[in-house]
Amino acid sequence: MSLNLIFEKSIPGRQAAAQAPKPNAQAVTHIPEHLLRKTPPRWPACSELQVVRHFTQLSQKNFGIDTHFYPLGSCSMKYNPRGVHRAASQANFTRCHPLAPSETIQGTLEILHTLQNYLAEITGMAGVSLTPMAGAQGEFSGVAMIKAYHQARGDVGRDEMLIPDAAHGTNPASAVACGFKSIEIPTAKDGDIDLNALRERLGPKTAGIMLTNPSTLGLFMRQIKEIAAMVHEAGGLLYYDGANLNAILGKVRPGDMGFDVMHLNLHKTFATPHGGGGPGSGPVAVSNRLLPFLPQPTVLKTSDGHYRFAEHQDAPQSIGRLSAFMGNAGILLRAYFYICVLGKQGLTRVSEFATLNANYLLAELQRVGYTAAYPKRRASHEFLITLAPEKKQYDIQAMDIAKRLLDYGFHAPTTYFPLLVPECLLIEPTETECKEELDKFISAMARILNEAKTNPDMLKNAPHTRPIKRLDEVKAAKNMDFNYFLSTVATP
């Protein structure tokens, strides 16, 4: 029982009897013997209470937004509204089959169609497809649309995608998945893109550039107009990674900055629940020239007010479908209801208070002794601090601060991303945190900095108060224990 895994609680003959149909009267018929399963899978045989207790206890080992301040940079861990969750969870939404006749799902289709329009207005773009199931799929479709656009024009030599070295790893991975070469653009010391390097790398082979603004460094890219002009002049298109949209909602629209295509992360900006790693949703929005290539199905409204999914003949130049059905519909409903609650004024306030909270934290953390990576710049909705000085002086690392924060009751900020800034923490408070929570965080960070000076082992061996201490990751990679029944590792 020492591992507390559900399999160890399994007793042959136990069952959550209320959850299974009545036992079958006869043996299985109409299936050839050689195709039948001989031994059942070793799924747990437990009572319903055992299962409920097991997973409830597991949940208690987690930090969530509901329980802890969660300043994970570039993830926008804002409050996931319960009312929105309830609105989207109604049986009339969840019981619909994805291939049901359109006349039976007019409510769902109306929401999706309206959401397409809302997101187009929010981003300043001409059209939207809701189908990509996460940011990475959104990126893939965006890059694929850029490729389709050039190919449709007969411009087939453009096989390079320019990507800043500070970009999120999904960017180059998505570019390569579309058959592009990923060409890195260096970031200058002031945090802006190196324009000279960009100029050198632009040319007839440039299909486009993938950017985010504010950048992954938490800084607004001040030369965006110039960059857009340069790339367009070279014949390339601009892709916007929408991960940081929380910083500029209602202030600047990516379409107005010159971007041709972008994805949104609904699980970031639009407060859909993160669920321990997903599901997300990464709708794409495009300018006019890319409309024909949008991934399908989109939702159309006919002249008599009837909603339906688009079919092949409606979008013959589409890059195609990204999944069997129309994407993470339940998440899309949540995003729609979130927009309904916030309304036009509320959406603009998101960026205002996200930015206020970030700048306040930046100012106060500097006051207690931390080093901003870009001290001369405004924070956007997030900012970077670097622990490089502390590493030199006290031999502690950013990871040590992160782990010690867990003892103080805070989830750590993002560590070691972007790779550009050594020993960094990327901190994003979001707009839903109140001043007292931020002050508690600042106070904890001040105490941790003091511990670094007076008692560094406290940090190096942190966390001390969690169910486990730091894990041996080398051992995890070498053990390769991914399956309880194949584990050769002795249990304690």
Binding site: P41, I65, T67, G124, G169, G277, M326, G327, Q345, A476
Partner: protein
């Protein structure tokens, strides 16, 4: 302001601590003024929660409640109440990717249990912590097969004609820039399963991968042993695309043929996810231990902490996009975490006995449905191979018209197959899971009978049986 807590006093005292910030607007002073937008115009005004819920209910009421006889990749099953109750706890619902292992042992242990259960279900060694859905999991399997067979000069993949057409379409989109050739393996038109003789054409060809769907799109049971062995004998990576509930009855892909398959994947929606118009669902993906470094997606491994206590952590991350970037095995980052949670709780509540019963009830109900419907004059089964929980019907007139009329009468009657298979006109793919009662099946059969009779006859219609509400 919904969800934003700041009072004017809060704002004032915070601004005072920030350099050169007389007001919030000043914080945006790095943005070029001519980039700034006007206020939003076509977005609505905000709502409070009470108004939101009324608005949501009104919209939900525009959806019609129908009795579901459609399968085709998404299936209605009973989801125990505890599944979403527990998964909706804030600690599960509002946590993020478990990068800080000490703050996420709940999620990490759960994922380890999920991996174990999926490996057991599919008869393979190791499973990852999920993909977006079954179709993208299949695409990732093909990409993995290409990596495994990287010495091949061509990238030719055999795809059965009996594979779900929407999965085929997804493969085409995701693989379009990878120089992959998808070759269709035709089906035997009487049996509705892959024609083994079609493999002879590739006897001396370099084939990178062979996809085997079980059950196939039409519910038919394929000759999986022969297909799996052929792949192995020809150095092609065998990829099983399977339904998880069917594996309560059917032999798992790890046991197909002499060696089992190399990769097993599929749609996990039947394990705890409502049909919900198509998502969020959850793809599962498993392989043999020797191939684990080529597997995409997140992977949770067991290890110990500094005190020797067992713990769980993300591992082999060097394969993933956040480290390997352009050379990653996949671009996937966010996956389907919450749905993995519900699937694990669902599988635990079913247990092996529950799974077997659900599978058998689905099998029996679909057979009952097929038998009832085939009694109707003009209706017959198209194929004669054994089938599981889905079957293709031949109708005497336009299936599209029938489906529309059935919808008016409260039935989601089936999936129209003809747009994808022009050589199968007037056919309808129907399914009956364990949720369908005998009453519903009889009502459906009656409705269909009357619709067909009305088409044929001009005499007064006999009254229809009441459909269940």
């Amino acid at each position: 302001m919904p969800y934003i807590p700041h009072t004017p006093e809060d704002t004032q005292s915070m601004l005072e601590r920030i350099h050169q910030a007389p007001n919030i607007e000043a914080l945006f002073d790095e943005i070029n003024p001519d980039l700034r937008q006007k206020a939003f115009e076509h977005l609505p005004d905000g709502l409070n929660e009470m108004d939101l819920l009324q608005h949501a209910e009104a919209l939900a009421n525009k959806n019609k409640n129908t009795v579901c006889f459609i399968g085709a990749g998404s299936y209605e099953h009973h989801i125990p109440a505890a599944v979403w109750d527990i998964a909706s706890r804030g600690e599960f619902l509002t946590s993020y990717t478990p990068y800080q292992a000490e703050a996420s042992q709940g999620t990490l242990q759960l994922l380890y249990e999920f991996q174990t259960m999926i490996a057991e279900l599919t008869g393979m060694d190791v499973a990852n912590a999920s993909m977006y859905d079954g179709a993208t999991a299949l695409a990732e399997a093909v990409l993995m097969a290409i990596r495994m067979n990287r010495t091949h000069k061509t990238r030719r993949v055999l795809v059965p004609e009996t594979l779900h057409p929407l999965y085929r379409a997804t493969l085409e989109t995701i693989l379009q820039h990878q120089d992959v050739t998808l070759l269709t393996l035709p089906m035997d038109t009487t049996q509705g399963i892959t024609n083994l003789e079609a493999l002879n054409a590739y006897e001396h060809d370099e084939i990178t991968a062979l996809i085997i769907a079980q059950p196939n799109f039409f519910g038919g049971l394929e000759p999986v042993d022969a297909l799996s062995d052929w792949a192995h004998a020809h150095q092609a990576i065998s990829i099983a695309c399977v339904n998880p509930i069917s594996l309560g009855l059917l032999k798992p892909p790890g046991n197909w043929g002499t060696h089992g398959v190399d990769i097993a994947c599929g749609e996990g929606q039947p394990l705890g996810a409502p049909m919900a118009s198509g998502g969020p669902y959850v793809g599962f993906f498993s392989t043999k231990k020797v191939h684990v470094r080529q597997m995409p997606g997140r992977l949770i491994g067991r290890t110990t902490d500094e005190d020797g206590k067992p713990g769980y952590t993300l591992t082999l991350q060097a394969r993933e996009q956040h480290i390997r970037r352009a050379k990653a095995t996949s671009n996937i980052c966010t996956n389907q975490g919450l749905l993995t949670t519900t699937a694990t709780i669902h599988m635990s509540l079913l247990g092996p006995e529950g799974l077997a019963r659900v599978a058998q009830h689905c099998h029996e109900n679909t057979h009952k449905l097929a038998t009832e419907l085939a009694k109707i004059p003009g209706v017959s089964l198209v194929f004669n191979a054994p089938f599981f929980h889905e079957v293709l019907l031949q109708l005497p007139i336009s299936a599209q018209k029938i489906v529309r009329t059935l919808a008016q009468q409260g039935f989601a009657g089936g999936y129209l197959v003809e747009p994808h298979y022009p050589n199968l006109p007037n056919t309808l793919l129907v399914c009956a899971t364990e949720c369908r009662t005998d009453t519903e099946i009889r009502a459906f059969a009656n409705a269909l009978q009357h619709i067909l009779a009305a088409e044929n006859q001009t005499q007064t219609q006999t009254p229809l049986m009441e459909t269940p509400s």
